[in-house]
Amino acid sequence: MPESFIASFSRFRRSHEFWLLIVILVLCASLSLANAQFLTMQNLFDLLTSYAFVGILALGLLVVLIAGGIDISFTATASVAQYVALAVANAYGANWISVCAMAIGIGGALGAVNAILIQKLRIPSIIVSIATLNVFYGLLIFFTAGKYIYSLPDWFATGIFWFEFEWGKDSSYGVNLQIFALAVCFLITWLVLNRTNIGRQIYAMGGNADAARRLGFHIFGLNMLVYCYMGVMAGVASLVQAQLAQSVAPTVLVGKELDVVAAVVLGGASLMGGVGTVLGTFLGLALLAVLQNGLILLGVSSYWSPLFVGFVILISVSVTAWSQRERRTKRAGP
């Protein structure tokens, strides 16, 4: 079916993701010319490992944005999930399954709190999540006195290292916890959004909540699912981050919410709901990751890196908005 392939390609060529892909490819090509270090397996694995935390959170936020809401309490949710799960593991002993279950359970429960407040008290999601960010975080620091946990269980500190293989001389690569969790989360989110009835319902609800309600969608149930999913992703991301940092620091995560928002909206998700793709989110994340990594490899002082990130965000959103306006005026014209 070459014709349908051509049609879908020409649709892709007009999409936000296509332009993002071009920008990333150009960036990658010029970086690999400028520095041989860039296009190595080592660097690729390091990038995936260090951006897994933001990536997993971005997937949760993507689902919330598509559903027409917003959540910025996820950093606090992650801090709570991380602290409780690993403090319990230290005190009473645990294994991978129970520590994951705890983090996911706590994340899901805090997500449910958000969903109940938003749906039952009819408060806009932005207000609820700003409030719960402060409540979760404030209570966590109040009860833990902001103490770090430095000694993690041995099995957790060691992590996992699967599918080990050799590449070149004396360097071995494998799938570590971060990359494994990132891949699984991407796969599940893609499946839920694109291959299930619920995924279509989430898009429909975000596009027009009133219409979805009149069609008989279970709005409360869908919202509950969406905010719990965000919480679960925060739980998973928190473990990934704790394993990478080899410690639990309750005060470090809060304040990073806008990094995640930046990745998701760079990927084309709309804050108005109903729009956004998993591929776009991946590309948005990749753009930020490649840019920051590239600047370091080019020897630019890390002090200047936020300036470039700011430029890229500003230019990218401006160009997107401008091209959308051009298309609209073209369609409106004769």
């Binding site: 009819r122 932005i126 404030g138 109040f142 304040g255 200047w304 936020p306 700011g310 500003l314 401008w322």
Partner: protein
């Protein structure tokens, strides 16, 4: 539930005072004041306590005004803190680099020039925000996220995260001095709040801002140049962030790329608590001021009780949810 005496009382009270933000916040403030007075006693009403409250409130207050302006138009300004820090650093740099050792015309001149340059930087950032939002039609949250990162990047890149400190006495006086017992910073807050309130309530510009917040398209079709209004609004928001910068650098006697970052979401919290609709169109300066006093009273009382500032944060969040739920609960009880 409708027959319960509590519901009847609530109904009668809400009929008496109307159902605005003030009707919710004023009783809350009185209740907090009474509660803390019982727990803490006289110390809560001492001159020292009141003065320290008046010293702490203006920074958050002026920043919240800046946030409120953007919120009223249905937007958001995430770049206020970064703008304030970049402005503060500009002023701090000029003051510490070019100030002569002795008093004189040059000494006054440098201070004036430094302040003017700082406000020029703030205005420039506001122009960028306004242009990108109004003319390129980028959603405000994305545009200001970009300028926030940009400004912070510039500030960090130029200072490497270092602090610039040591300013002449008149500047420090703005943050730490008092006039007849009233902190100068509080006077600065009043000098910001009154004109902003007048601008919003008594001028065509203010009416246009509220209209844009309610329905931008309808406002444009009714012949208002919405783009020019938005541009001016974001410049104004930036300039207020600049005023906050002066108060902050004067109070700490220093400037840095990362001061006050935790204030960003708190300004939204304060504005929304003060009755500003997060989707635009509604909200008064009076409500915001009342909300700021409530937040400050809780914070100061917890401080006197030796409770953690993080517990204050949690209570602030809880109060926001409680106040935001009032319209819904009132609708339920009044039926």
């Amino acid at each position: 539930m409708n027959k319960s005496p509590l519901a009847a009382l609530l109904r009668r009270m809400s009929r008496r005072v109307g159902s605005g933000t003030v009707a919710t916040l004023a009783p809350l403030l009185l209740a907090l004041w009474a509660g803390f007075a019982i727990v803490i006693g006289d110390r809560f009403f001492s001159i020292d306590t009141l003065q320290s409250m008046a010293f702490q409130m203006p920074e958050l207050g002026i920043l919240s005004l800046a946030m409120m302006l953007a919120l009223l138009s249905g937007g958001l300004n995430l770049s206020i803190i970064a703008t304030a820090n970049l402005t503060g650093l500009t002023i701090a740099f000029l003051l510490t680099r070019y100030i002569p050792g002795t008093d004189g015309i040059a000494w006054v001149g440098v201070q004036v020039v430094a302040l003017v340059a700082g406000f020029a930087v703030a205005a420039l950032i506001g122009l960028i925000n306004g242009f990108v939002i109004a003319y390129l039609r980028v959603s405000p949250i994305l545009a200001t996220l970009g300028t926030m990162t940009l400004c912070k990047g510039l500030a960090i890149g130029l200072t490497h995260g270092n602090v610039i400190s040591g300013f002449p006495a008149p500047i420090v006086f703005i943050g730490n001095g008092t006039v007849w017992g009233v902190p100068v910073a509080l006077i600065v807050l009043a000098l910001c709040a009154l004109p902003v309130a007048t601008l919003l309530n008594a001028t065509p510009f203010g009416a246009k801002v509220y209209m844009i917040g309610s329905n931008e398209k309808a406002t444009r079709y009714s012949g208002v140049d919405t783009r020019a209004v938005l541009l001016k609004l974001y410049v104004l928001s930036s300039l207020l962030a600049g005023v906050a910068a002066v108060v902050m650098l004067a109070r700490f006697n220093s400037a840095n790329a990362a001061y006050g970052e935790s204030y960003l979401l708190v300004t939204i919290l304060a504005a929304v608590l003060g009755g500003v609709d997060p989707f635009g169109g509604f909200g008064k300066v009076g409500g915001l001021i009342l909300a700021l006093i409530i937040l400050q009273v809780i914070s100061s009382a917890f401080n006197l009780l030796n409770l953690s500032q993080f517990l204050t944060l949690a209570i602030w969040g809880g109060i926001l949810i409680a106040v935001a739920a009032v319209p819904y609960l009132r609708g339920k009880f009044a039926r």
